[in-house]
Structure formats: structure tokens, C-alpha cells
Symmetry: C2
Subunit: 211 residues, 2 copies
């Protein structure tokens, strides 16, 4: 299989980290999204939505979405389980991974995308056509990131990992979201968020975090 990838974007990192936790490797094809290679005809022929990551299986099947790729990998490489192990834990991991995505990653993306000069006319991801950035979304996104940090810090006071005592995809999404929020969206984790800092230290030290 073959992974269309970008080292700059958080969603491909989620998949790389998931694969590394599973011990799975594959060929990767870099796509330069800053230059807009994801909108070139060659890539749109693979994924018409113009988004990375995209995984192409050996039989040509295209999986064009981050969490869908992780679900496929969980099915074919069940160990270690990263999506829960029984009805309740699968649901709670799903809920927590989606909290991280909607409250953290989308907020950081809103702040970044509407302030980055290279995306001035690429206000939405992927193959949406020219769309102006909306400056008011920068502050809204940053404020959402701050709320995300406060809530995550409170939650991590009660558990080692984002979805309880076990490392899961929710931690992967959270790490990629926090790192994207601090880097691209430029909202530092406040010093008082000691629980995030404890958790981040542990999760960022996993070998998969460097994938």
C-alpha cells in the first residue's frame, strides 16, 4: 500500500503515528500542500477532494480520509488496539477522539488557515475552489483553542490518557491537535495547564510521535 502524505499537516501525522504504533510501514508519496500539489490534476485523480492523507491499497482501493484509514489499519492489525476493546470503550474512544478533533484540531485549523498568507484565497481545505480567508475566524479559532486547552487540562486531571487509562487514537488526535495549535495557530499551552504538560511529555516521548 501507498500513503500520500505531508509532513506539514496534522491529519497525515495522525495516520503516520497510528501506523507507527501498529508497527506498520509502507511507501509514502510526499504532497506539498503549501505549493498546492494536492490540487494538481495528478493528485485529484487519486483523491478528488484534494486532501491528504490518502491511502491506496495494493488492489487500488482508495481510502481518502484520516480516521477511515486508521479504522482499516485497526481491522487488519488489531494489536495493539487503539480504538477500544468492548462496546463502551469503543464508544468512549470514539467520543474522545471526536472531541479532540472538533474542539481542538478544527479550532486550530480555523485560526491558522485564516491567518496564513499562503492560504489567503484558500479559506477552506482541499478542492473547494478559491475562497477568501475570513479574518474574524482567527480570533474565534484562537479563543476556541484556549477553551480546548482548559477542558483538556481538567479532563487529564482525572486520567492518564485522553480516553482513560489506555493510550488510544484519542491521544494521537490530541497530540497532533495540541502541536498544531501551538505551532501553526500560535496558541501556547498555558503554564497552569500542568495536566496537559504531564500528558504531552509522556505521549510526545513515544517513538510513534516522531513518525
Amino acid at each position: 500500500m501507498k500513503l500520500y502524505d505531508s509532513k506539514l499537516a496534522p491529519n497525515p501525522r495522525r495516520v503516520r503515528m497510528f501506523m507507527a504504533e501498529k508497527g506498520v510501514t509502507c511507501e509514502t508519496v510526499p504532497v506539498d500542500i503549501i505549493k498546492g500539489e494536492n490540487l494538481d490534476a495528478a493528485f485529484l485523480a487519486v483523491n478528488p477532494r484534494g486532501l491528504v492523507p490518502t491511502l491506496v491499497l495494493d488492489d487500488g482501493t482508495v481510502l481518502d480520509e484520516s480516521v477511515a484509514i486508521c479504522r482499516y489499519l485497526e481491522e487488519i492489525h488489531p494489536e495493539p488496539p487503539l480504538l477500544g476493546t468492548d462496546a463502551v470503550s469503543k464508544a468512549q474512544v470514539e467520543a474522545r477522539q471526536r472531541h479532540m478533533e472538533f474542539d481542538g484540531l478544527l479550532a486550530a485549523a480555523e485560526a491558522f488557515r485564516n491567518s496564513f498568507p499562503g492560504f489567503k484565497h484558500r479559506g477552506l481545505t482541499g478542492n473547494a475552489g478559491p475562497i477568501d480567508a475570513i479574518p474574524a475566524l482567527v480570533e474565534r479559532g484562537k479563543a476556541s483553542v484556549s477553551r480546548f486547552y482548559a477542558k483538556l487540562d481538567a479532563d487529564l486531571a482525572n486520567s492518564r490518557f485522553v480516553a482513560g487509562d489506555t493510550f488510544s487514537i484519542a491521544d494521537i488526535t490530541a497530540l497532533c491537535s495540541v502541536d498544531f495549535a501551538t505551532g501553526a495557530a500560535r496558541v501556547a499551552v498555558p503554564d497552569e495547564c500542568a495536566n496537559i504538560k504531564r500528558w504531552h511529555g509522556e505521549v510526545a516521548a513515544r517513538p510513534s510521535a516522531a513518525a
Copy 2:
């Protein structure tokens, strides 16, 4: 178990329809989100994020997120399968359900939320605090809905349902998204989208669509 519900919002409808397809019933508690009951202390004690649907299991476990609730129901009531049946179909259903959500439902919500007078200071869902609506998002959201329709129509030229030949959660999310986009966001499905109309006619006629 007990479902905190709203008849006005698309996310609780997704769960009601999923439950109806499974033949599962449970007690429901209506939450008036227009009045802001989802932000009252009583509901925030159940779900601090202030969002419906929320499912409380008999042992008190709280599942506070739409797709997480569906995943739980799929695990305890596997028939009929609505989340795929093997590694590839599970991944493709996940991908298509997420396309419907990100491209359709979020776009319609952007158009609705920033134009509805009652949400003038509730620009984000749930317990985010007072946030002004951003008028520029109304047109952006409507344009995204139009792109969503065009893409969905093209995809449905090649398949009976959203994720292939089998009804799945992707159809549920798509139906709730299209109905919310045409109703609340006021973007009609164009007459030329004959594939959407054929598909909508079939899916809206399922008994679960009235749940």
C-alpha cells in the same frame, strides 16, 4: 438507557434514525436547544459540553457524542450492520459518513447558525460561551452546501447508497444533512441533482426517517 434529545437538531435525528434501523427504543428526554436548555446547569451536569444527543446507560455511563452512541449501539445490536462488515467496508463507510458530516452537515450548520436570529450570540454550538455570529459565514456555508450537493449527486450516479450498495450510517448522516441544509440553511437541492432526488426519495421513505 435514556436519550437526551431534540427534535429540531440534526445530530439527535442521526441517533434516533440509527436506533430505529436497529429496532432499539429507549426513554427520551427532550432538551429545548432554542431556549438554551442545553446550557442549563441541569443538563451541563449530564454533558458538560452542552450538546445533544447524549445517551446515559443504565449503569450511569454517559455517551456524549452522536457517532460514539451509534458505535455503542452497533456493538450491542450488530444487526443490521450499519458501520460496515469487513476491513474495507468499515473504512469506506467511515470515510463516507465523515464526508457527509464535514462537507454537508458542518456547511449547513455554518449557514444556519450565523443567520438564525436566536443564535446571534451563540455562534458556536454547545457550552462555548457567548460568541457573536459571523455574517460572512452564511454565504460561505451556503456555497459549501452547493458544492456538497454537486459532489453527492455525482457520487450517487454510481451507487444506490452513499457508501455503495448497502444502506449505512453514511446515508443517515447524508439524509439528516440534506434535510437540515434544505430546511434550516435554506439551500434547496437543485432540480438537476436527479441522483440525490432518487436517493432521497428512497431513504426518506424508510420508517426510520420519521424517528
